[in-house]
């Protein structure tokens, strides 16, 4: 299967094809109708969709058959947000109840994933029982699963049976030498196998599983964890290989490693990549394939829009008290999904119109600029600077506007209890915007305004409720007009 090349760096000679120039996040334009239909409301597969639709993970799969150096199986913390972490393990029956409760209460939830906290396919009974029941009892929910791939080949038949059309495989390497530095052991044929031999088996199983899924017509996303000094130079090759085998999307994620997590990498002081390193690698890989840049590395029990977690509202004790009429909920969901899709389509049309308009204007020759945007979804600028939990980073250039990444912000305006040390948190937030030259929010307070300016980041509250790409382009043009893009930048580099 030949893949279209998406979300590439805009070609330097200009001249953009189709309606995607204004924003490369509109990846769906390039795909076959069949794939389009499958991903258009999937927040983890479509950058566009993640502004509108929510997802949830049910933690039914505690067992794992491998050890990764970035994972610690003892970890279970409500305040920590990363894969492999959960607060409450569910039985398949509880998972079905929880899914239906969330679907009824968060109608924009379209996707149910099983992602751990171990490996879903190392818990086949619990995982497939959950899928079996949900495909019957909640047929309007898309089902997906993520796996390390070790047990994938033997599970493909069963996956196809339950109508699971999205599978994510975490593939960190295709070279056992490198694999031995990432995976200390695997459990294989009743033995614990270590070192290169283990990595070789895992890699073979992952690649075989990938081929089998593609042969079945199941959409495959490949996740890779970028580990500086271990596999960073190797991931472009991984990207080429998985693309050639038919993976549809590649998601390169930064390593999360803190000593307090108690992981091998955390304790041994292995660092994660900087934003600039991650972006450079994503750009490197994007020459070969569709890159995902909006991944939030969710917990295995996350609930809500990407980047938010409403798991607290849906603990089992709260769910037991809810009375869910799923038939009625499905009716309501259908209406809401149609409305959201109509809104998405009109926004898409607006975006391509905007892109065409840009293409017709005389082309600027200015340098690219990174801008941060505060949004809670719907593709518009609609969050106050102090309330932003994260910022989306966009690059504006003469070729248009493209989505680059997201950055977490510490909430400095979190109410009385945190106001005491609010200023230092504000400083941290501003530091997280390093490299950006402007920040677009619905509003910016006086104090952060001054601090942002001092940090060389232009605060901007003039584009509240406007579509992101249009607002970013308008600020970019204004900067160009004011000669700001001819200056030598002293403290900022245009990287994310």
């Amino acid at each position: 299967m030949e893949l279209p090349v998406l979300n590439e760096k805009p070609a330097s000679q200009g001249g953009c094809s189709a309606g995607s120039c204004g924003s490369t996040d509109d990846q769906l334009n390039h795909l076959s109708d069949e794939i389009k239909a499958k991903v258009q409301n999937h927040p983890c597969y479509s950058e566009d969709a993640h502004h509108y639709f929510a997802r949830m993970h049910v933690a039914v799969a505690p067992a794992c058959n491998i050890q990764c150096h970035y994972c610690n199986r003892k970890y279970d913390c409500a305040n920590e947000s990363r894969p492999g972490v959960v607060s409450e393990l569910l039985t398949p029956d509880q998972a079905v109840k929880k899914t239906m409760a969330v679907a009824a209460n968060i109608p924009q939830m379209t996707v149910l994933g099983i992602a751990g906290p171990g490996d879903p396919l190392a818990n086949p009974e619990r995982t497939f029982e959950t899928f079996r029941r949900l495909s019957k009892e909640a047929p309007d929910i898309k089902l997906c699963v993520s796996t390390n791939g070790l047990s994938l080949p033997e599970s493909v038949e069963e996956l196809a049976k339950h109508n699971i059309d999205h599978v994510t495989i975490t593939i960190n390497c295709v070279d056992p030498e490198i694999g031995a530095k990432i995976y200390p052991w695997i459990f294989w044929e009743n033995r614990r196998i270590k070192g290169k031999k283990a990595a070789k088996i895992l890699i073979e199983q992952q690649q075989k599983g990938l081929e089998m899924l593609v042969a079945k017509g199941i959409l495959v996303k490949v996740n890779s964890v970028m580990i500086p000094g271990v596999n960073d130079k190797h991931l472009a090759e991984v990207s080429r290989i998985v693309k050639a085998k038919g993976a549809f999307l590649h998601n390169v994620m930064p390593l999360i490693a803190e000593a307090e997590h108690g992981t091998f990498y955390g304790v041994m002081g292995q660092r994660g990549p900087t934003g600039a390193e991650l972006q450079a690698l994503q750009d490197d890989c994007s020459g070969d394939m569709n890159m995902m840049r909006h991944c939030r590395q969710c917990r295995a029990d996350a609930v809500g829009m990407l980047g938010e977690d409403r798991g607290d509202e849906f603990t089992m004790d709260k769910i037991e008290l809810m009375d869910i009429d799923y038939e009625a909920a499905m009716e309501k969901r259908k209406v809401i999904h149609q409305a959201i899709e109509a809104e998405m389509n009109s926004k898409r049309a607006q975006k391509s119109e905007f892109a065409e308009q840009i293409a017709q204007e005389p082309k600027l020759t200015t340098r690219p600029v990174l801008m941060a945007v505060a949004t809670s979804g719907q593709g518009v600028i609609n969050v106050h600077f102090g309330h932003a939990k994260e910022f989306l980073i966009y690059e504006a250039s003469p070729d248009g506007v493209r989505f680059i990444s997201h950055r977490k912000a510490d909430l400095y305006c979190g109410g009385d209890s945190t106001c005491g040390d609010g200023e230092s948190v504000l400083q941290t937030t501003i530091r997280s915007l390093e490299g950006c030259e402007a920040v677009l929010c619905s509003k910016v307070g006086f104090e952060p305004w001054e601090m942002l300016e001092n940090a060389g980041i232009m605060p901007n509250g003039e584009h509240a409720m406007e579509p992101i790409e249009e607002a970013v382009m308008s600020v970019y043009k204004e900067m160009a007009k004011n000669g700001k893009l001819d200056e030598i930048i002293l403290h900022n580099r245009a990287t994310a």
């Binding site: 505690p62 150096h69 199986r73 200390p184 459990f187 614990r192 304790v267």
Partner: protein
């Protein structure tokens, strides 16, 4: 002759389906091994299955009370390095 699961078990379920003698059972606060049923996998496997998939160092002991997966054997983290990191965290 029986293996034993101790309180560091994280209840991950990995061992339970592997036991050829069905000696492992879910319990609170953690999984347990029925010592009357456990054979340490003799006659079925070359190595005890529960200890072979268990991801937690020190969670499974042999009949003499010795950890089948001693510190550092699974994570690759040298125990002194782990102690150092934990001491540093507590100091903060």
């Amino acid at each position: 002759m029986s293996l034993k699961i101790i309180e560091t078990c994280v209840n991950c379920f990995a061992c339970e389906p592997l036991c050829p003698s069905k000696a492992i059972y879910e319990a609170k606060p953690h999984f347990l091994i029925d010592s009357k049923k456990c054979t340490e996998c003799e006659g079925d496997f070359a190595v005890p299955q529960c200890a072979t998939i268990c991801p937690i160092e020190g969670a499974i002991l042999d009949a003499l009370g010795v950890a089948l997966n001693p510190p550092g054997s699974l994570t690759g983290i040298p125990p002194e390095k782990m102690a150092e990191a934990m001491a540093e965290l507590q100091a903060h």
